[in-house]
């Protein structure tokens, strides 16, 4: 993952070959089996030296676009970034250091969110800070109740 090899050859073919080798018929199925696991670790499992986290991200998005489940994808990405930056869940005390961890997760999430959903992600971020979830909150998947409330599916 740390070398430039992830960017050589046919990225898509490699990604799907690895997913199939591991017994899944889609990247989404592979990721669903590993809820809230950060992207770079999904990538590492698919190919330590030749798959990058953003490639997995982009692949998951492509599948979500086809399935019209982009909102679910956005929630899924939230859980993966959240567990990376705020591994212990919503802080008991939102002091300066803890607030930064939350801010890092939210900032990264907005930046990783496709254009179509950016504004909503922005608003969700604000409302999370305005009405904090219970301490220890750590969504373990895209169907987390609070996440679903904040960012419900729109696609029909």
């Amino acid at each position: 993952m740390s070398s430039g090899r992830a960017w050589q050859g046919n990225v898509k073919a490699r990604l799907y070959e690895r997913v199939r080798e591991r017994g899944y018929d889609s990247l989404t199925a592979f990721a669903d089996a590993r809820p809230a696991v950060p992207l770079h670790l999904l990538a590492e499992e698919l190919g330590k030296d030749d798959v990058a986290g953003v490639q997995v991200l982009s692949g998951l998005l492509a599948e979500a676009e086809r399935r019209k489940q982009v909102t679910r994808f956005v929630r899924d990405v939230f859980t993966r970034l959240w567990s990376q930056s705020v591994p212990d869940g919503w802080p008991t005390v939102l002091d300066d250091a803890n607030r930064f961890k939350v801010a890092e997760a939210l900032g990264s999430w907005i930046a990783y969110t496709p254009e179509t959903h950016k504004e909503r992600a922005d608003r969700v971020s604000d409302s999370l800070l305005a009405t904090p979830p219970p301490p220890g909150w750590r969504p373990l998947g895209p169907d987390d109740t609070l996440l679903l409330t904040l960012l419900p599916d729109e696609e029909a």
């Binding site: 740390s2 990225v11 982009s58 801010a103 930046a111 922005d122």
Partner: protein, 489 residues
Amino acid sequence: MTGWREPTRLEVTTLGLLLVLALSSTGCASLTPPPGRGMKLHYSHGEAAAPLEPVGPQWLHHGQGLRGSTEGTARGSTLAAHLAFRGALSDVAGTTRRLSGELSKLEKSHWGIAGKGAGLFLPHVGYGQSQLRWMEAELAAATRLADAASEVEDEDMRLALLRLAGPRLEAAMLGSLVLAAWVDVLHLLDVAFKHGYNSLETLFVEMDRWQKMLEPAMTALASQEPGQLKAAAQDMPLLMGHLSGEFNATAQRLHSGLRNIQKVMALAQLVEMVTMVSAMKFSLPRLGPSAPATLGMGMMMGGDGVMMGTRIVVSAEWVEMMRRLVRAGVISLPAVSAAVRIQAGQVLMAEAHDELPHGVREALGDGPEVRGMRVTDRAGAGMAEPPGHHVLPKEFREWFEKRGFTGEMSIDHFCVRLEQAHHQAIHGGGNWKLGRTWPGEWNRMIMETLRKAEARAGRMLTPTEVLGTVAKRMTDYGIQMDFIRWRGP
């Protein structure tokens, strides 16, 4: 701590004083483990990771400890490298403090170098002081980088910051060795003047020539150009050899120029005494008929450190410290080798670019993986480096400057080499993208991440926070945290 070499009779007092100073002032002494323990802590490839305490899900450990590192650098060895770096910093800082004291004394030596002909020779003291200033500046910058490294949580970023600081430590370390020799020369003059030596003109011409001899090396070391630094390191033992030779010739001449037998005795003793500052002592043949002691004697790695005959060249502790830094890619083997050879005073016998014996090199951290680690570093081969790419987008230089990315933390220090395909891909090119609605272009993504994070944090981010966030996203993009300095557009 002061692991350079075995203290001789004349140095015991100086070393003792330094020891007291170092122990009482900074407390840095406690950072370097004692040799016995140090040996156990040493880096061993792939198994040095300290056992991690079980908290949270398993992948978290995996992620924090081993992620994205080709060298298998784990928590334990990064910590070891960090401690070794602190140790080495305080070591070199001790040397520069001592040299600073020596130069101040010389500046006030009214019966010697600051007396008769002061106008001619005081500038040489000033030259030493000006060299000292850049070394102190480098040490201060290296210290700040090491401080930043201790604040960053990401292991790879921590190591990357130490690697940024490494060349500064190298430059100060080698520079202090040259400066020590220069201070010896000044001492010789000082002693000669105190004993009534009068031929100022010859000495003035010689001093001028010596300074010109040192100048290119000093400039190269102060330049912070990796290629120049490396070249200077490689040439340094030879340079020190020349300087020792000249020093010796001058000492001989001063010796025979003094008729009075008492003065001759005094000078012979004093020449021995003045060379206590630098390693030149060991490369100097004695004044008089006795044969030079060090000629033709090989170096070897012993239990107490690098030995030459029965003399300790550098202590086992120093070797261990350097080994960790070399293995972690923080400082380069050529620089460490040069330092050892200079310490050994091997200069007279090593006319060519002589390598250290295999066993010594190995003890200093040489190995196939270390040689392979920096294959991309083509600076030493004199080849043009591939262009660096800013990780912190240069279009937003001011934004980063406002957040503390200045000086040694300037965004120009955080550049990476990328293959063309990789570079194009992260800047929106290539056909890797599967999803349509997320552009994923690095500059845009990272600035949005930082800005949105800042808005939610309700304040400006600190450099450490910025680097921590950037480290996470670099990992997602498969960008290795191996920074180079940006040179040119």
